[in-house]
């Protein structure tokens, strides 16, 4: 985690990998907590109900478990929640993966009012760590010119070995 000059807030980082293709319908609660020293001793809530904003990735059933559409089984998603603000979702990053060789990162987002505090880096670093733990050889992404440096600082290389990203009939 960043060593920030300001006092770090109590952000809880949840990594949900809905790897249910192999393990059934229960959510795989690989929860990683990054707590600044001031919040040590806080209880971990194993079965915390996901905030409403996560509905797009799955349906929360009455018993609190999350049912996922088959389409999203191969997605790893990481969410960042502000505990001091009702557990509100303030950041997210998403990866699709084939569980053997390749993963692609999409949609790295941090709420604008929370930007500038290194949260994007935290999201991506943790997502990469989880992906690499999951038998993935290769993590890739597409970056527009404004964020190329951001990803370079996290260990990504542009056009590695001359390999170029291409898009089919892009709307540009």
């Amino acid at each position: 985690m960043q060593t920030a000059s300001k006092k770090p807030k109590a952000y809880r980082l949840r990594v949900n990998f809905w790897d249910t293709f192999r393990s059934g319908f229960l959510k795989n609660n690989t929860t990683q907590i990054i707590d600044p020293p001031s919040t040590q001793g806080e209880e971990k809530e194993e079965d915390e109900k996901l905030p409403e904003e996560f509905v797009l990735l799955g349906k929360t059933l009455e018993d609190g478990s999350v049912e996922r559409d088959n389409i999203f089984f191969r997605i790893g998603c990481i969410g960042l929640f502000d505990l001091e603000n009702g557990g509100k979702l303030i950041g997210m990053a998403r990866a699709t993966l084939d569980h053997a060789f390749n993963a692609a990162i999409w949609d790295v987002l941090v709420d604008p009012s929370y930007q500038g505090q290194g949260l994007g880096k935290v999201l991506v670093e943790n997502l990469i760590k989880s992906l690499l733990q999951r038998d993935v050889g290769n993590v890739s992404l597409f970056a527009n010119s404004k964020v190329i440096e951001f990803y370079q600082n996290l260990g990504f290389e542009v056009d590695m070995e001359g390999i170029k990203g291409m898009f089919w009939h892009p709307k540009y």
Partner: protein
Amino acid sequence: MLLRARISAPFSAGLRLRPTVPLPLGNLHVPASTAASATSFSISDAGLASRGFTLHRSISGLNIDHLNTIFVAVGFPKRDPEKIVVALEHTDSLIWIQYERDQKPVAFARATGDGVFNAIIWDVVVDPSFQGIGLGKAVMERLIEDLVERGISNIALYSEPRVLGFYRPLGFVADPDGIRGMVYSRKQKKKKK
């Protein structure tokens, strides 16, 4: 536009599939040449059949060891066949061509993604002995058609420099609007701020 639910038997046995929600068409530009019509392919299915090739859209019947041999022949690192199976089980779309005379795969391509917005095409290979006759184009055109039919309009891939010219006529553009492909490199030291 309704999305077809993707069933990749036999691996989906026991999993419940919900029909996906319709997507607004938005600004999807699909040139007439790639509209969903068999006659618009460079070589039609019938054309392939007459040359002794059959098309397959599932992992069923695919000999992984033969596929691995093609991967090695085109310069990919040799991969654990069991891992290849895992990868293919977690793959949204795949297509391969078999040469009927010796019952071996000769061309292959697959795409992974989130099933609604984005897809990335991987592992596009043609057995070197069968290159140059349009099989690579055949699998690519059909794979793209499958993705487009499912409403996936953001289709990307990573191309080695020497095959950029293969992908361009298929409609792929490198670095559109300055968007660059990046890969995580563990060798690289992260700059600490």
